[in-house]
Symmetry: C2
Subunit: 213 residues, 2 copies
């Protein structure tokens, strides 16, 4: 059982973008940040339900496959689920449509829990008001021996990193400079001690960096 | 003729460290940031004059060799030469001892020029009060058709990058999180457009990223 983080970050370290508008709820920067990832065959099949076989293969797709493999449960912050944008909508069920790609129990951290949401494909969203250690224990219990991922956003991920709860941190460093957003690396001086670091360059110029305990 | 930049940066983007003290004039962070580079056979021979043949070979050393190859002139900021720390010392001749590794004309940007310093190995330090475009024209004229490097520090490099004067930017991304220092990437949103980007992972976990026009 591994507690994992997988994020896309820009070369200047931004893991979340801040140029969203009502007309463009994800924003231009986000599209550019995740372009390589969403172009993979695995993402297109698993998230977009595009079974045409288009999408890239190779190193980026290998990591996209690993993203979903062996996953037993996921933890995410309220913002990643969309609660900050939809706090007044009791029927909000997340960004991922009728078949969210997780297919496992997902625990959403929030100070204002709402009823659990269940999908036919095995995805459940359970809303809990818990500290990182407690949330992790809950997710581990639900994961049946498989991995737990702390999915995001960066503020949530940093809480788990600073608490020493993450066994494996994989970042896809996308070679673009955004100049704005929320940085992953702030206030994490010395994090690398205690991890073994490996890096791999993909065809697209994206760098996959992995810190493993 | 290529106008080049070569820098070591931490995973969180710091290209210059700020933990220097009178007792430790380079600082602990700087030693960690440049550890891989100064361990290469090329650096040990060229900068430390260690001809024992120790030092690492492989990808990191390939980049160290490229660092010095084809160089015709160098431009650096006053801080990189040490003027900020030695402004009251008219006899200051830089950090590099009797045989500075440049072996070419070096132009030091300063608002308070001092007399040119010449070394037997072909290194000269000429102090000029000039805007980036003017300094570059001077360096190109001195380089005899070979490359001009903007050596650092990051504040100087950013001036040249923002002015669109750099043909090739190579950064060695060292997988450590410093959490303090001067960032290379601030205020460079969109820099990557106009460049082709390639990346290569070295044995040590260091990532060599190159932007070429």
């Amino acid at each position: 059982m591994t507690v994992r983080v997988d994020l896309n970050i820009s070369l200047d370290g931004f893991a979340t973008t801040t140029d969203q508008t009502p007309e463009n709820p994800f924003g231009e920067d986000w599209s550019r940040l995740v372009h390589t990832y969403v172009s993979t065959r695995t993402f297109r099949e698993r998230v977009l339900h595009d079974t045409s076989g288009t999408g890239t293969t190779g190193i980026n797709d290998d990591y996209a496959q690993a993203y979903f493999a062996e996953l037993g449960a996921e933890i995410m912050g309220a913002g990643m689920f969309g609660l900050h944008d939809h706090q007044d909508d009791p029927d909000w069920r997340g960004w991922w449509g009728k078949e969210p790609p997780f297919r496992v129990p997902v625990f959403v951290l929030t100070h204002t829990p709402r009823p659990t949401i269940e999908f036919d494909n095995g995805t459940t969203f359970t809303f809990i008001d818990a500290a990182p250690e407690e949330a992790l224990a809950t997710a581990i219990a639900a994961a049946g021996g498989r991995d737990v991922r702390v999915g995001g956003g960066p503020t949530t991920v940093k809480q788990f990193l600073r608490a020493g709860l993450v066994d494996q941190l994989h970042v896809a460093i996308v070679p673009i400079l955004l100049g704005r957003g929320i940085r992953l690396w702030d206030d994490l001086r010395g994090l690398e001690s205690g991890y073994t670091i490996s890096s791999e360059a993909a065809e697209s110029g994206v760098i996959h960096l992995t810190l493993r305990r």
